[in-house]
Amino acid sequence: MEFLFNIYIFPGILFILTWAVFVFWFFRKILATLHKRVGPHYNGYAGTMQTFYDFSKLLTKESITPKGVNSYLFSSIPLIAPMLAIIPVVFIPWMPNFVIINSSYGVLGLVVLIGIEPFLLFLTGFGSNNKYSFLGGIRILTQMISMETSFFLSALSPALLFSTMNLTEIADMSSWLSTLILLPGAMLFFVSILGILEQPPFNIPDAEQEIVYGFYTEYSGTNYFLLKLAEFAEFLVTFAAMVTLFFGGYHGLFFDGFICLFVKMLIFAVLMIAIRASNPRLRLSQMLEFAWRYLVPLNLLNIVWILYAKQFILGD
């Protein structure tokens, strides 16, 4: 019974759908405020029903499969991608004493499953019979290989500091001192997250002005809705992972709970939108140079710092 509740309601399918509806509206409103505009306003109170209408419209439109596509790749990836994106939800501790799989290899499972998601999207680029989608697929492959290295290295630093890979224990053992020590690692992790989620300034694979919409170009209706659901599920998982690993998870100032986790996730979402509104896009060669010349050596230095701090500052 509790198992069915976990799968369907929280943190399962209904939670992911509600989060997708909420975060799409949230992004649009914050971006509009930075643009000196008002975002969606007329549907529901301050536009909250707008995303609901958007999603139900997408589900009732015609799903076109163009002529000449590779039908296995084109039609099956939108089904597999959201499933793969939702799976890491089982590793994260959402509330005190509530985690679906309490494994002692939590960090490893999280990193592997988050990391394998973008490779499915590159297959969609190959499968559409379109030169622009193909270019988008090549770009996402290039970007992921560079950013995943740094993602993995920086996700390792709290595990090294606390000598455990169990996410609940990492969240429980954090304190003000350990947060300060992990701060450089947190910043590097955030930058790698921007690369993996393809957000500005790294939104190179779906560059609207250059390659029409990258690998999303040929998708319409339900297929597009499923791919977007995969993207929003990735947001949920990566932000929750960041808060749990570096900033103490569900622990708050006066009380513990799911609300503290949620508020911390929203702070990072606002930070991401502020970066989107003030920075242009990078070129592919500049991104490669940045990743391999600056990010990876800084990550290695970060690991040296963590080991030093563990020995001499934390004292065990």
Binding site: L34, Q209, V212, S278, N279, P280, R281, L282, R283
Partner: protein
């Protein structure tokens, strides 16, 4: 000018006279001298050519070719004319493209529209016109276009067949990682222009622009309307800067009619022209960042632009297509509410300009992308006849408001806004500086108007328009104006007692700027195409006319 007159000693000329103190107007006797004359002019130091334009005199059975050579250093220019026969088999002349690279596309256009054959031109293929006009030369007098319009579906099928033939030829041409991308007419970043990009992976091998998607044949349309009604067609050359193009046409008509307009109308033209320039530049800086994926500056700039559009709406009733300037002066009398709205707009600019500068112009990511691409050197400016902000960003001092002052610009205190180095970022800086300079010009014009009205020198209700007769005498005139994109030149030819223009040639700056696109982008990556294209400040309306 005496030195230039001496250049023509060895050649036979029908006449040679001084025109408007900066131009030498020369007509050659025979067309076979053209290449030698061009070589002599180029060796003297005049390296730019504005345009090449035929005028069709059907009664005398000749085409009169006009060549406008310009010197961007000393501002002394040459206007060369020569006659060639009108029959298809004899309508030939030497091409000057091997000497003046900027004449390339102008000669292609003259060939497609009129049928002039240019000997030794590197690539004389069909240009701008749609496929149903190939071989029909629609601008010749006597072309029966009403009969051509009867079968629309057949014409459209010709166009589509031609498109498919080209696509199939492109597909068979390459193999492996090389391919031809169509940066097509509905691309989000380009507007209605098609670029055929040959790529190898992401590296560009060649670009060939295919233009003509917004071709409205304005030069032919004007012949169907009368002198006043042509304003409707000409203000829509490019919608973003609406007022300066009307000034250019109005000046040409006034020169042929021999009338002088009042000082009040001249100062009003300066005011309206500068508002048009600001409105267009704000759209331009927004568009530059849009090509890199950042919409914020576009939103803020459009918000500021609305205040200036309020001024135009108060003066003329329309926001964008104002029709506020006509031959004889400006169209409507002035009331003081317009000047008050202008003060509100200037105050809003002063309040937000620091944000624009600090957040966007100093953005390190933009600098890292735009400082090393699209570099145009000073020699390329002269060779390809560039103008406007593209020329000023490379260090060439050229600005028609200072070289050949028109309207009331001789009373205004202004300077050349130049930058060195000519990269994409420098063009953005020039745009910002020009907005600041336009604001200062607006302040000077507005205070001059207020003082004049208060001391009764200007009568705002009566001084705005001088009567121009409906039928003009025979004559021709050229008129140049500093449009927001560059130098806009119109060449107007009228016949005795006619009510509409006989021939109007419009030289638009974006035409030359698109010519150098291939030269700038060879060897760069796909991400640089929207960036360089956006920084050249091209508008498809005046590219195709």
């Amino acid at each position: 000018m005496e030195n230039i007159k001496e250049l023509f000693e060895p050649f036979n000329t029908q006449y040679m006279e001084l025109y408007k103190e900066n131009w030498l107007k020369v007509k050659l006797e025979s067309s076979s001298d053209l290449l030698d004359v061009a070589r002599v002019i180029k060796n003297y130091g005049i390296r730019s050519i504005a345009t090449v334009s035929p005028t069709d005199f059907i009664e005398d059975n000749i085409f009169e070719m006009n060549y406008f050579f310009e010197d961007l250093n000393t501002y002394k220019n040459v206007w060369l004319k020569v006659d060639i026969p009108r029959e298809f088999s004899e309508c030939k002349i030497d091409s000057i493209t091997p000497l003046f690279a900027g004449a390339n596309w102008h000669e292609r256009e003259a060939h497609s529209m009129y049928g002039v054959h240019f000997i030794n031109h590197p690539d004389l293929s069909w240009f701008i016109i749609s496929a149903d006009y190939y071989g029909k030369f629609p601008f010749r007098k006597g072309f029966d276009w009403k009969a051509h319009e009867q079968n629309l579906i057949e014409n459209m099928n010709t166009i589509v067949d031609d498109l498919y033939d080209e696509h199939n030829a492109n597909d068979e041409k390459f193999d492996g990682s090389k391919t031809i991308l169509n940066w097509g007419p509905t691309h989000p970043a380009s507007g209605p222009i098609r670029l055929k990009v040959e790529v190898d992976g992401e590296e560009i091998l060649a670009i060939e622009p295919d233009i003509g998607y917004v071709w409205r044949a304005l030069e032919h349309l004007v012949e169907e309307k009368d002198f006043l009604g042509s304003i409707v067609a000409l203000e829509r050359i490019c919608f973003m800067d609406n007022t300066n193009s009307m000034i250019c046409y109005a000046q040409a008509v006034e020169e042929i009619a021999g009338k002088e307009i009042t000082d009040f109308a001249k100062m009003m033209r300066v005011l309206l022209g500068e508002i048009g320039r600001i409105v267009s530049h704000l759209m331009g800086i927004g568009g530059f960042f849009n090509t890199m994926g950042l919409m914020t500056l576009f939103m803020w700039a459009i918000d500021l632009r609305e205040y200036f559009l309020d001024v135009l709406e108060n003066y003329s009733g329309a926001r964008v297509a104002t029709a506020s300037i006509e031959p004889g002066g400006v169209r409507y009398p002035l009331n003081m509410k317009t000047l008050e709205l202008l003060d509100v707009a200037i105050e809003e600019y002063e309040r937000t300009k620091d944000d624009f500068y600090n957040i966007f112009l100093k953005n390190p990511l933009m600098k890292s992308r735009a400082t090393k691409v699209g570099i145009i050197t000073k020699d390329e400016v002269h060779d390809f006849s560039l103008c406007g902000i593209v020329a000023r960003a490379s260090g060439v001092k050229t600005d028609i408001r200072l070289d050949e002052p028109y309207a009331a610009y001789d009373k205004i205190d202004m300077d050349y806004m130049i930058e060195e180095n000519g990269a994409a970022k420098n063009r953005l800086d020039v745009l910002f500086k020009e907005i600041a300079q336009s604001i200062s010009i607006l302040k000077q014009a507005s205070s001059d108007l207020r003082d004049g009205i208060k001391s009764q020198i200007y009568n705002p209700q009566k001084d705005h328009l001088v009567k121009i007769p409906k039928k003009l005498p025979a004559g021709e005139a050229i008129s140049r104006v500093e449009w927001s994109r560059g130098e806009l030149m119109m060449h107007l030819v009228t016949q005795e007692k006619a009510t509409s223009p006989y021939r109007l040639k419009i030289k638009a700056p974006s035409f030359n700027h698109t010519m150098i696109l291939e030269h700038l982008l060879k060897g760069q990556t796909l991400s640089d195409i929207p960036l360089v294209f956006g920084s050249l400040y091209i508008c498809q309306g005046d590219l195709d006319r």
